[in-house]
């Protein structure tokens, strides 16, 4: 079992000169990740980003209902459970975004006529929830040993009214922001797998956010590696 680990990742110190003006709060919050903490699922992970926390469980490759069976690849299902109450439209929309991202990296053709189910439980939401869900889903898929083309991570950027860029915003920063953009990036080519945006922004700002997210993804992937090495160090 991987112990909890935390690293602070100040982007500013690492990349030196960045694009565009940036506020003082421009860094990722600290991460923490624990894997294989649930006994029943085939893979599980909990991911923390600041005060946002998501618990993920993966079942698969398992038996599939005949109605959902796909003859040449695995059926991928993502279920997102909110902290309280039943999943609504917002959750369904997020589920779809996460499922599409997972489908891009999971090698489903290796397990045809099976199902891979990812269940995400929101433990606490303090901003950048979708990014945290993506990270938790990735770690749980890796833990379950599902064959993947690459790793992926989610990064959220917020643009405030002055045009300042904030990475990994808190709930308060998200509310005050002019635009909130979430990207999913893969680990091999750092290419965009999924993006979802809310609010007003210019084309240049989008490119700027994407570049910042790509730089930030490096830290997330570095953290993945450290976390997984920790998990395998005990065997």
């Amino acid at each position: 079992m991987a112990g909890e680990m935390q690293i602070d990742t100040p982007i500013r110190a690492e990349t030196g000169a960045e694009a565009g003006p940036r506020g003082p709060g421009c860094s990722l919050r600290h991460f923490a990740c624990e894997q294989n903490l649930l006994s029943r699922p085939d893979g599980s992970a909990s991911f923390l980003q600041g005060d946002t926390s998501v618990l993920a469980g993966v079942y698969g490759p398992a038996e599939v209902k005949v109605s959902k069976e796909i003859f040449n690849k695995a059926t991928l299902e993502v279920l997102l459970r909110p902290k309280t109450g039943l999943p609504g439209v917002a959750e369904k929309s997020r589920e779809r975004l996460i499922r599409n991202t997972c489908e891009a990296v999971v090698l489903g053709a290796l397990h045809p006529r099976t199902s891979i189910t990812v269940v995400l439980q929101v433990v606490s939401d303090a901003g950048s929830l979708l990014a945290c869900c993506l990270n938790a889903a990735c770690m749980a898929l890796v833990d379950a040993g599902v064959p993947m083309r690459a790793l992926f991570c989610g990064v959220t950027c917020a643009l405030d009214s002055d045009g300042n860029l904030v990475l990994d915003p808190t709930l308060k920063q998200e509310k005050e922001a002019r635009a909130v953009l979430t990207f999913a990036l893969d680990s091999v080519e750092r290419k965009l797998l999924m993006s979802t945006t809310k609010g007003l922004y210019s084309n240049a700002e989008l490119q700027q956010c994407l570049a910042a997210a790509q730089a930030a993804s490096q830290h997330v992937f570095h953290f993945y590696r450290e976390s997984l090495q920790r998990r395998y160090s005990k065997s």
Binding site: T15, P147, A215
Partner: protein, 274 residues
């Protein structure tokens, strides 16, 4: 803007392929690219610019390398698909041997030739359906037991434990088990007797226990007289003289996964004193 692009390009260069030989025993992640020894001199550091001109570069001395679980071939490249430690087995005679990724997953995927413990879930006509923990139940013919004939059916009930071997296991077909070897002998396979305890562990632990030079099994054997069956699907069946001893053995084997050699030795010596 231009600076940001430069940063992105730098990060791309950071994920360069590593030589398979240098990462043996280390943790590899999905998406990583590995270089085989034959490719190292061609694509390795410094090799790009000054390569001696060969007379016929088309014919490279190619060594046969087998890709095990967790790795896949994509053209000339060797890519990792699972997280775990990279392992390598030296070839018996010539070739590049076998590379594979040793991961700690819990879900079993049937592999041809694996010995597994299954639970009979249904009897239908002349086949049994056996749950082996994979994505679909395996089929087992009633004729695939030692001494079984059309007249002389084996006594197998729903709920019985079966120790058998896969003869058909691939992603496109229903897995099929047998309880006889190629000579028609049971060779230890068949229905596992009454009582005893079945429990599940990770697939990594089973592989560790079944390794030819595993100390754990020898130490456990010295503790109590026991009967034990390991299934590659992560199931262990154990039976000792008393229920208490059976439970102790099951707990020890389960705990072995996260213990160092010293911790294990301590526990075994403490148990032996009692």
């Amino acid at each position: 803007m231009a600076e940001a692009v430069a940063v992105a390009v730098e990060s791309l260069a950071g994920v360069k392929a590593r030589a398979a030989r240098t990462v043996l025993g280390q943790v590899v992640l999905p998406g990583e690219e590995l270089l085989l020894p034959e490719q190292e001199d061609a694509e390795g550091p410094g090799g790009a610019g000054e390569r001696p001109l060969r007379l016929n570069p088309g014919v490279r001395s190619r060594v046969r390398v087998v890709c095990g679980p967790g790795l896949r071939r994509c053209g000339d490249r060797l890519l990792v698909t699972k997280c775990g430690r990279l392992r390598h087995k030296e070839p018996g005679g010539g070739g590049g041997g076998v590379y594979w990724v040793d991961s700690q997953q819990k879900r079993y995927v049937p592999v041809k030739g694996d010995h597994v413990i299954g639970i009979v879930i249904a009897k239908s006509g002349d086949i049994f359906k056996v749950d082996v923990g994979g994505s679909e139940p395996a089929s087992l013919s009633y004729l695939a037991f030692e001494g079984a004939t059309k007249r002389n059916r084996p006594n197998v009930q729903v709920g019985d434990l079966i120790y058998g071997q896969f003869v058909v296991a691939n992603k496109d077909m229903e897995p099929e088990m047998v309880c006889i070897d190629s000579c028609g002998r049971a060779n230890g396979m068949g229905v596992i007797g009454q009582d005893g305890l079945l429990f599940k562990v990770t697939l990594g632990l089973i592989r560790k226990l079944l390794a030819p030079d595993c100390e754990i099994i020898q130490e456990v054997g010295k503790l109590y007289p026991l009967e034990i069956v390991f299934g590659m699907n992560g199931r262990i069946w154990v039976k000792a003289k008393t229920i208490q001893q059976t439970l102790i053995l099951a707990n020890i084997l389960e705990a072995c996964e996260h213990m160092t050699t010293d911790q294990r030795k301590q526990i075994f010596s403490r148990l032996a004193e009692r």
